[in-house]
């Protein structure tokens, strides 16, 4: 359409034979016609809806259903006897569904402590240029965890609320260029029941994540969760993970090494006991399979 307009305008100007029209004026006219009046969104800040363990700002596409299989093997330091931990492991199976381009829900089940988790993610702002200039993408993620493992002491009056814990996160990310994206994730975790009054019911942490694109379908990811000083930070270790994203048709593979076997927020942020220095490192992967439920998207595939 703009080309047709330019052609029509040029023709009109020629026909009118405006004597004082010079090159500068034509440039100005062309610039005005080609100015982008629509938002130019930044896509692919991160490849997956998680960076490694933690959530990224990304949400599944409109009507997209994602099936996620996550696995963390045993400790690498156990050596060849357990094939560097591959004989053991924890698993999470989950689904994510995008209601629209900015909102999704997720559910999952972890064999670790038999925990069910669920969450809602809302993308509040999208990094963009053009009509508006917004330098970052901001999403909020809120989730709950239900521990369904049998009561440790069944003969006392156990409360249902004791099974529950929650996590709230603000995810702020910027894609600096085609290769580098960085995210910061202030996090709040609430546990309904802790062992002693000295333990924290409310725990705060700051997550940091980054992605460096190594190739068209290959990127290096890193993630670190810093626990704000307190009893939890004294008792546990900050979570550090490094990994790769590999993109294939309809799939995203994330392969990584981390110092936590848990794959739900409360576990890997506030209960990581493994230490990289002592070799408590677990290999793991997340596999995303996307099922586009939108008819138009499905036809494209």
């Amino acid at each position: 359409m703009p080309m047709k307009k330019i052609f029509a305008l040029s023709l009109l100007l020629c026909l009118l034979q405006i004597p004082y029209l010079n090159g500068q004026d034509i440039d100005q006219l062309l610039k005005e016609l080609s100015d982008d009046k629509t938002p130019n969104y930044t896509f692919g800040t991160f490849k997956g809806t998680t960076i490694i363990n933690g959530q990224s700002v990304e949400v599944p596409g409109n009507y997209d259903l994602r099936f996620i299989i996550s696995h963390r093997f045993g400790e690498i330091s156990q050596g060849i006897y357990t094939f560097f931990g591959l004989d053991q492991g924890t698993t999470r199976l989950g689904f994510e569904y995008g209601f629209n381009d900015n909102m999704s829900i997720s559910i999952g089940r972890n064999n670790f402590e038999k925990i069910y988790d669920g969450g809602i993610k809302l993308r509040l702002l999208r990094q963009q240029t053009g009509l508006r200039s917004i330098p970052v993408t901001i999403s909020v993620f809120t989730s709950f965890f239900i521990k369904t493992v049998k009561w440790e002491i069944p003969d006392r009056e156990n409360l249902y609320s004791s099974r529950l814990s929650y996590m709230n996160q603000i995810l702020i990310a910027r894609k600096f260029n085609q290769k580098i994206s960085i995210q910061i994730s202030p996090t709040h975790i609430h546990k309904n029941l802790v062992p002693t009054p000295q333990d924290q019911n409310n725990i705060f942490a700051v997550g940091m994540g980054a992605r460096y694109k190594l190739g068209k379908k290959f990127s290096l990811n890193g993630e670190y969760f810093y626990l704000i000083p307190g009893k939890t930070a004294d008792d546990y270790i900050n979570n550090l993970s490094l990994g790769f994203d590999i993109e294939a048709a309809g799939h995203v593979f994330q392969i990584h090494a981390t110092n936590s076997q848990a794959m739900f927020g409360r576990g890997f942020i506030t209960e990581t006991a493994g230490s990289w220095e002592e070799g408590n490192i677990y290999l793991g992967f997340n596999i995303y399979r996307v099922f586009p439920l939108n008819k138009n998207d499905r036809n494209k595939q």
Binding site: E75, D87, G118, I120, S162, H190, P195, T196, A273
Partner: protein, 125 residues
């Protein structure tokens, strides 16, 4: 478009109404008081088997036995008692995996009972 907005609100409303009243700030000590730690008559049959059954057998038992370790019988237990692995893993000593895996140390009283049992030569009865 309308039904999507309605559905979004419904999901939010359901989740909030279901979980918000359950937000508590409890701790076990205040809720249930301090549990007196009974350290008399500690044997495999009287106390130790129950502690291991609760904390360890789901990964080291008849269904799953990671590293070939089992805690569901006195005979199999003696393997990790005699080579020092049980003491190492429960006390998080250097060079041993920290057990229970990723859950911190056992509750103070249970750890105390296991250590007393090991110090007493791990009696069965």
């Amino acid at each position: 478009m309308k039904w999507k907005v309605i559905l979004t609100f419904l999901v939010f409303a359901c989740l909030l109404s279901f979980f918000s009243p359950s937000c508590e700030n409890n701790n076990e000590l205040d809720l249930y008081g301090s549990q007196k730690c009974d350290t008399t008559n500690i044997t495999w049959n009287s106390k130790v088997a129950a502690i291991l059954q609760k904390n360890c057998v789901y990964c080291h038992g008849p269904d799953v036995s990671y590293n070939g370790v089992r805690h569901d019988s006195y005979t199999s237990e003696m393997v990790v008692v005699n080579d020092g692995r049980l003491r190492g893993v429960i006390n998080h000593l250097d060079g041993f995996s920290k057990m229970p895996k990723d859950l911190g140390k056992l509750p103070e009283c249970e750890l105390k009972i296991l250590n007393i049992w090991l110090n007493n030569g791990a009696p069965e009865n």
